[in-house]
Amino acid sequence: MAEITCSQATQQALDEAMAADPTVLVFGEDVADPEGGGIMGSTAGLSTKYGSRVRSTPISEQAIAGAAVGAAIAGMRPVAEIMLMNFITVAMDMIVNHAAKTRFMSGGKTAVPLTIRTMSGAGIGAGGQHSDMYEAWLAHVPGLKVVVPSNAADQKALLKSCIFDDDPCIFVETTYIQFVKGEVPDDYEAPLGKAKVSREGTDVTIVGYGRPILDALAVAEKLAAEGISVEVVDLRTVMPWDQETVFKSVAKTKRAVTLHEAVVQFGVGAEISSRIHEELFDTLKAPVQRVGSMNTVVPYSAPLEQNFMWSQDKIEAAIRRTLERK
């Protein structure tokens, strides 16, 4: 099976969705072919193939997100690109006050089946305004769904699931893994809200999503050599997250570590940890540990950035802390 990058996975998902459904529209900064088909090439070829259904926009995030909200209310399935996740801050009114709330405030009369694709992540020296992971903000807003894939197959399948979902979905493509290749089976599907057990184990569960899943798998492999069996649960969908799979795994291993790129404080890991304690307090052998990035601004200088980020060492240390109590 041929391997493709995550960016290519996005391109294929968009192409297949647009071919299957004429209501699917794609717009955002530089997405059309004359402008390069997106900064990562994720929309390459689409405007040539689908004409006005694929449009490059001005650098106007409110207008981009708002057009997606309006088109969705009118019955289309727009896929808007907000180039980087930090730029979502400029469009928050459209996303939080309108996309998320419209179905409820209209008493169910209008739906907003839009998808906003965005990209972010630290580790490439992009500094304080091009690297943040804000999925916790968005997951905190009732009405939104939030998806963060960790590999090409899931990126393709989950993007299609978002496009054909009837609720507003924020789809986060983490920068670093866009260049990572993976196999994408033709018939592979990934429903929203379903986690994937990426590696089975019996001693401790790592619950995470996105790029750090790669690190979790590496640490699991390393610790297997000394007889520590690590289960890795890739949430894939942050909101709504798959509590059933997580609780089942932690009920088995009795220990858990949450893991994400975003800073630890008030992060998604805090919610997951809290729910595990509420459901499985008597089963747990140790308090749930949280791994993420440091509570500071994403720094530019390479050694600072490495220090800021989660790491395999931090994951390993967290696992060992859960194992201190027998």
Binding site: A63, G66, G70, M76, P78, D93, H98, A111, D166, Q243
Partner: protein
């Protein structure tokens, strides 16, 4: 380009009056209910702006889209939101247009083309572009009218939306209902230059009109709507008007000079149109009196309906958040 046959005929003027008197009387009824403690709501009266909405709506098709704002009663009624559903929504009742879940600042009634009512200043415009984008792609011939106040022309979304709509020739009409005050601040103290002139910067026509003059307002609206429907793109209309009841219910309007308010009320556009219909022989006193009485009866019936309608079940709190109720929500 000036289009032919853009003038309001006698039937149009009667229609505009029928809508205007319904808006005026509904507003008076709502303020009466608020005053007597029968209704609790954050209410933004459109009293004084009736003609703008009624004349605009007279140029629209039933399936055209309207986006409006928290001061939206006039736009809702003009576009045809049924009074019972509207009133029940004000009361937070289950028979409201949004099952009582949106409230008076968020009326949605797609059956009448009222797609979005936003409580955030300036936020309707980017969404209106999206509705119009859908129409452009589907070639369904619909026009989208987005209503906003003068204050909204100073927020970024206005500029982003005007630019995009012009660039893509979207079938949108930007209708600025300039009531001369942005919340409590006079327009000239917070807005540089004339609002209508901003159209030039986005390469679209701008029309400055007396929004309280039904014939002028109808002609302006008709020109903009026809242009949008013909695929020629958006127009900015600045309709000068005035609001009699301040920003929100209970606002004493101390920032409005007394003489200014007195002059505006002396030129109340709704009775003025009533007099015009009689003076020109378009309708008799009996005929307009019947229009007024019909509106009053409809309002009384709607208020009773709304008061008698049940509140929504508390289970409604978890429905309509997502397409299907989430487990573990």
């Amino acid at each position: 380009m000036t289009r032919p046959n853009a003038a309001a005929g006698p039937e149009d003027l009667i229609k505009i009056y029928r809508t205007s008197t319904l808006i005026k009387q509904t507003d008076e009824a709502i303020r009466g209910l608020l005053r007597r403690g029968r209704l609790q709501a954050n209410y933004y009266s459109p009293r004084g702006q009736e003609i703008v909405a009624a004349a605009m709506a007279a140029t629209l098709q039933p399936d055209d889209y309207v986006v409006t704002i928290y001061r939206g009663l006039h736009d809702h009624l003009a576009k045809g939101v049924p009074l019972k559903a509207l009133m029940a929504e004000y009361f937070g009742k289950v028979d409201g247009s949004c099952k009582g879940k949106g409230g008076c600042m968020h009326i949605t009634h797609p059956e009448a083309g009222v797609m979005v009512t936003t409580g955030i200043v300036g936020s309707g415009m980017p969404i209106a572009n999206g509705l119009a984008l859908a129409s452009q792609e589907r070639k369904d011939g619909r026009v989208t009218v987005t209503n906003f106040g003068d204050g909204a022309t100073n927020i970024g979304s206005f500029h982003e939306s005007m630019n995009l709509a012009s660039l893509w020739k979207l079938p949108v009409v930007f209708l600025c209902q300039n009531n001369l005050f942005a919340e409590h601040t006079a327009t000239e103290l917070c807005t540089a230059g004339n609002i209508v002139d901003r159209a030039k910067g986005y390469a679209m026509p701008g029309i400055l009109v007396d929004g309280n003059d039904p014939e002028a307002m109808y002609a302006a609206a008709r020109q903009a709507v026809d242009r949008a429907r013909d695929g020629e793109g958006p127009t900015l209309i600045e309709a000068r008007t005035f609001r009699f009841e301040g920003h929100n219910y209970g606002d004493p309007s101390s920032y409005i000079p007394k003489e200014m308010m007195a002059e505006a009320k002396a030129n109340d556009p709704v009775p003025k149109l009533r007099a015009l219909l009689i003076e020109r022989g378009i309708a008799t006193e009996d005929e307009v009196a019947k229009i007024d009485a019909d509106a009053a009866a409809e309002i009384a019936e709607a208020v009773t309906f709304a008061q008698e309608s049940p509140y929504p079940d508390v289970a409604e709190n978890l429905s309509d958040v997502y397409a299907t109720v989430l487990e573990n929500a």
